[in-house]
Amino acid sequence: MVYQLAAETAADQDLASLSDHLIIAMIVAYAAALFLFALEAAYGRRTALKGNRLVPVGASAPAKDAAASPAAAGGHGGEASAAVGGYSTVDLDAEPASGGGGNADDLSVSVRGSEPQASASRSVLGAIALAVAGVGFLLNLAQIITRGLAADRWPWGNMFEFVVAISLCAVAAFLYAALRYQARYLGTFVLLPVVLLLGIAARWLYTETGPLVPALHSYWIAIHVSAAIVATGAFMVSGAAAITYLLSHRTEAKRAMGERVAGIAAKLPSPELLDRVSHRFVVIAFPLWTFAIIAGAIWADEAWGRFWGWDPKEVWSFITWVIYAAYLHARATAGWKGTRSAWIGVLGFAALMFNFFGVNYMFSGLHSYA
């Protein structure tokens, strides 16, 4: 009956303390990146975003103006030439004509573009910030790995570890957005909650590396919790973009009324672009979240004897899911596009955060491993 926990090896303790040092290092890196991103947002020059992948045009574009954005087929180094009457003719064919100089069979291409050129505040600081954020990401990753090794289990078994893992995913999603969609302008808005969350985690939620309660002894923790964490990271970027959208939208409305706008708000990218980024990340996160809920139900079925029992955590996951489903519908409903759907996205994110903090501390349920 008496059970002796194997004494922790010195190596494990070294790893655990290394992992604790990495927490500080990663928060410092993220905070520095946040600072630099904020400087870029405030003092950078508004510059056109070159390139071709400013996120696919979403449902917000009126369908009859359906258009690939200018230079849609970049990667060939295409550039826009004359734009006539809403049509821009793009020479997408950058390869030099091969063979005997005959150009006769080269392509002439027209791509109808209705999108205004996207632009955002940019400066070298942003590039540095991105690199610093990248370093923070690596530290974050190292922290999680060392903690997992020290505890000899999946490193997401309590609130503290969740926050660290969610931050990792949010930053990963942001880095992806920055590299693929040139959405560096989201840096301030993503890193702000990340730094806040990590600060809260380090200050109030910190728990020593240790074993899990029996309810969490299951490979489902790898499946269910990982999916939820990745989805949360992507939702976080979406939420950041939605809030940026609302700011940018206000700026535009003010400009339309002839008011002058100054500061960070004046240099935000166009609301259309932000709307699409926000939508894009919901599209990525929503199926993952759906999957996480289902995996959670299967796990609950194994652990507690019912796959759905209206435990507060389950209720709030469901509420979050329904709100994001509403978001997706709103974007396809006349009169709900734009600001309203952005608010729904923000609401969804609020429900997500409430599920994380509110439910763990306010209600008691089976999920109380806080």
Binding site: Y3, A72, V213, F291, V315, V322, H329
Partner: protein, 550 residues
């Protein structure tokens, strides 16, 4: 062009179509009218149906679904914890009956919540079925005719080649092989990405299926709890359960006839360090039979390892101790000898447990005991400065029992809880010293003697039979697949036209139209157009005359 522009629904168009101006059968009389003024009952019905199946209504119902779920997470719910509901009643005697009136302790089975989701699902059906039919028609139809002015498409490209038009179309077929192609004169019209719409339909229908599975599980399933002491057996009959919750349509006379024995049970706790006392693992060894006479099999029951037998899942819910007592009555007869489960106190890290021993048959008068079991008993100074006995660790390092004895009528003729002693018709005999295993306590007044012989572990188990769980899983998985289709597949059209140009070369036009307006479409069209050109360049049949002309 006419064909294309009406078909160029994209997201907006599709959504509006779902809103009622598509091919819904219910349209017609009320069609176009903003208000249903002066309509026949049928017209009204159609109007109501159109409103109900509109996207906006779906949106509002979705919000209500989310909003309505909130009170259920704030107030205690009977499905989750009936005890907390009872506690709420005692703490808020004035408010609770009012909340009850709105089913706020049973939110998820309340009529108003049911109204929301049933409306939502009616709306969904009314919205998705017509869409599914329309999509089916579209899938069976030929891709529409090539529009005259391909240059007006969102993507269009032109080049000339020496190849014959026929040759161009032939190559076009191999380049646009992912598309369903249809030949119209000198052109190919292609369409692909049908899976988006199909995925949408599958997703929504899977949600319906999920709801039906849940309802079926709720109606035909059952759930029961019981407590099994190490060494004891269980047979799946109604009377074996401590509590039993059948679904409304469950067949209670035909429970699966399995049985099992809990051979041993072991709870491990972290012994030292910062996590000392935290549960480490629970393990029960059991032998079971599908039905009487069947072969015996073995299973190790753990928190995440239920036993699945005869369509029933047996889960481990909790763990406790059952101290074992032997009681001699006033006449010296052994009238009681068995372990008695004591229930652990809530949130007590030392797992102090309470229980009662009932010996109604003792002579001359019935005996009853209220007891406390302390797995690791230790003297410590309490808040009031006096020393008291408490359990400091959940596993039995130094188990002890203290008892209070009563004598008299236990009132066993009425149904009563096995964990409570009705002392109203009994007389207190006094309290024992701290008893360790093997210790006996001679009761005052020659009433008898009780011996604390030792203890066994017990497990609390839950049995569930839910015929909806596998269909629910199936539909949920289908929903995810459908979702992936509807979110990531891009429906799109493309055309290739080849016509003889004035200089004898063939003019090739390639055009594309994405219905989801994704930049990936433009990139794909361009890649395909370039590929077609390159293939025609490399094509010896086409290249010959072209190079000879240079």
């Amino acid at each position: 062009m006419a064909t294309t522009s009406t078909r160029n629904g994209g997201k907006t168009g599709a959504a509006d179509a779902a809103g009622g101006d598509g091919d819904e059968p219910g349209k017609g009389a009320a069609g176009g009218a903003g208000t249903p003024g002066g309509l026949t009952p049928l017209g009204w019905a159609r109007w109501a149906w159109r409103i109900l199946t509109s996207m906006r209504t779906a949106l509002i119902l979705l919000f209500l679904l989310a909003l309505g779920a909130i009170p259920g997470s704030m107030l205690p719910q009977r499905v989750v914890s009936p005890d907390q509901v009872a506690q709420y009643y005692t703490e808020n005697p004035a408010l609770a009956p009012w909340l009850e009136r709105f089913s706020l302790f049973d939110v998820y089975s309340s009529p108003w919540y049911a109204a929301i989701y049933l409306l939502l699902f009616v709306s969904l059906t009314g919205c998705v079925i017509p869409r599914a039919l329309a999509h089916l028609r579209l899938m069976r139809a030929r891709p529409p005719k090539t529009p005259r002015h391909l240059g007006r498409m969102p993507y269009s490209a032109r080049f000339t080649t020496a190849a014959e038009p026929e040759r161009v179309l032939e190559k076009g077929r191999s380049v646009f092989k992912r598309y369903r192609l249809e030949r119209y004169g000198g052109s190919l019209s292609g369409e692909t990405g049908y899976l988006r719409e199909a995925g949408n339909v599958v997703f929504h229908i899977a949600l319906l299926g999920l709801l039906v599975s849940l309802a079926a599980g709720y109606a035909f399933g059952y759930r029961g709890n019981m407590l099994v002491v190490e060494g004891d057996g269980f047979a799946n009959t109604l009377t074996s359960y401590d509590s039993f919750y059948p679904g409304v349509a469950a067949d209670q006379d035909e429970l699966a006839p399995f049985s099992f024995t809990l051979d041993s049970f072991e709870a491990k706790f972290v012994q030292d360090g910062g996590f000392s006392g935290q549960a480490e693992s629970f393990k029960g060894e059991m032998t079971y039979k599908d039905r009487p006479g069947a072969e015996e099999r073995h299973h190790t029951l753990e928190v995440n390892e239920p036993l699945s037998v005869g369509g029933v899942q047996v889960y481990l819910l909790g763990h406790g101790y059952a101290p074992e007592f032997e009681v001699r009555d006033g006449e010296g007869e052994v009238v009681f000898d068995q372990p008695v489960p004591f229930l652990p106190r809530n949130e007590d890290p030392g797992q102090t447990s309470d229980g009662v021993v009932k010996v109604p048959d003792a002579l001359p008068e019935g005996l009853g005991f209220e007891g406390v079991f302390l797995p690791t008993a230790q003297e410590r100074t309490g808040e009031d400065g006096e020393s008291e006995l408490a359990s400091v660790f959940p596993s039995p390092r130094d188990p002890a029992v203290t008892l209070t004895a009563y004598t008299g009528d236990l009132g066993m003729r009425q149904a009563q809880s096995v964990y409570q002693l009705d002392t109203s018709r009994m007389e207190e005999l006094g309290a024992s010293e701290t008893l360790r295993p093997g210790d006996s306590w001679e009761l005052p007044d020659g009433a008898g003697e009780i011996t604390f012989k030792g203890y066994e572990d017990f497990a609390t188990l839950q049995m569930t039979h839910n015929p909806g769980r596998l269909p629910a899983l199936l539909f949920a998985s289908l929903a995810v697949l459908g979702l992936l289709g509807t979110l990531f597949v891009r429906p799109r059209r493309a055309w290739v036209r080849a016509s003889a140009g004035p200089d004898g070369r063939t003019v090739v036009e390639v055009a594309g139209l994405g219905k989801t307006e994704s930049t990936a479409d433009g990139q794909e069209f361009h890649r395909l157009a370039t590929e077609l050109r390159d293939r025609l360049r490399e094509d010896p049949a086409a290249d010959g005359p072209a190079s000879s002309k240079e």
